[in-house]
């Protein structure tokens, strides 16, 4: 399962005018020049600021990749294809990180078909991976798996 990067990185230069209206300018640079604070993205942001009365508020770089040989998803019992599995993790700064996955595998739920337990080997593997490598959006480390449960999104229209 090796992901292949697209040849270019997407650079989004976010601007805001004095009325508060926001807009963005999009460029593409070589995929090895993806640091938003240096190189091509920083030079393009400075150049845009030179001809614009807007304030350049941030530079965002996006790297897109695709698995050319993804294989096939596994089959098995589905109670409902639209169901989600919601996982909550605690972090060192006290914030809660939530992760929602689709198409939850029935075999990893507790006998009540509603909750996940860290005693399940797959949930334990996710907790281990998140504690080792996951972060909050502010860069704080993940400390523990807090809770996990099945969520059934409302299908009600026009609410």
């Amino acid at each position: 399962m090796a992901f292949v990067l697209e040849p270019t990185a997407e650079v989004l230069i976010h601007c805001q005018d004095y009325n508060g209206a926001r807009s963005s300018v999009r460029f593409f640079v070589v995929n090895t020049d993806a640091d938003p604070a240096a190189g091509g993205p920083a030079a393009l942001a400075a150049a845009v600021q030179g001809i614009s009365a807007d304030a350049v508020t941030s530079v965002e770089t996006l790297l897109h990749s695709v698995d050319p040989l993804p294989g096939s998803p596994t089959d098995g019992p589905y109670s409902r294809g639209a169901d989600k599995g919601l996982f909550e993790f605690g972090s060192t700064d006290g914030s809660i990180v939530k992760m929602q996955i689709g198409a939850p595998n029935e075999t990893h739920l507790e006998p009540d078909h509603l909750r996940y337990s860290v005693s399940d080997i797959a949930v334990l593997a996710l907790e281990t991976a998140m504690k080792s490598f996951g972060k909050t959006a502010e860069g704080a480390a993940i400390t523990h798996f807090q809770t996990g449960y099945r969520r059934r999104p409302s299908r009600r229209k026009g609410k």
Binding site: A43, A47, G50, P70, P73, M99, N105, A122, K135, G139
Partner: protein, 158 residues
């Protein structure tokens, strides 16, 4: 201020139902989708779903301090539209919001390509920007004002 984390967005395709995306954060500065940490989390998610990972997107943000310059309300939504050409002759468009008055010629519609700030912009784009397929941008021959103003609605005649 540089990103405190790299945002990872993974799109999964399940056996049944629509594709869905899962988003999480890892340490800043990671630019390889095959990074061991990212793949460990994706593998763990795969075990909990009946889905397969198709694409991974990595995002980093650098915040910049500064304030906008005041300009007339009705023109602040205008754009400076630049027509660029790459090495294959393919055209690309760049639209810059809130262009300053100084970059326009006397007709206030055509961009003065000899203006120093415009020259610097063209130089930065031709030095760094590519088309999405990877072909470098080689020239920006022209630029003009693109109006983005709401049309006034006429009042009913009484």
């Amino acid at each position: 201020m540089a990103s405190l984390a790299t945002r990872v967005t993974v799109v999964f395709d399940p056996q049944w139902g629509p594709q869905f995306a899962v988003r999480f954060h890892v340490a800043p500065g990671i630019i390889d989708p095959n990074n061991a940490g990212i793949q460990a989390i994706v593998t763990a998610i795969n075990a909990l779903t009946r889905a397969i990972a198709l694409t991974i997107e990595l995002s980093q943000v650098d915040a910049i301090a500064g304030s906008p310059v005041m300009s007339a309300d009705y023109i602040s939504e205008d754009k400076a539209a630049f027509k660029a050409l790459d090495g294959d002759g393919q055209a690309h468009n760049y639209r810059i919001p809130g262009p300053t008055a100084a970059i326009f010629l006397a007709n206030k519609e055509t961009i003065d390509m000899t203006n120093l700030d415009v020259v610097a912009f063209v130089a930065a784009v031709t030095a760094n920007a590519l088309g999405r397929g990877g072909v470098p941008i080689t020239t920006i021959p022209v630029g003009f004002r693109a109006e983005n103003r709401k049309k006034l609605k006429s009042a009913p005649q009484i």
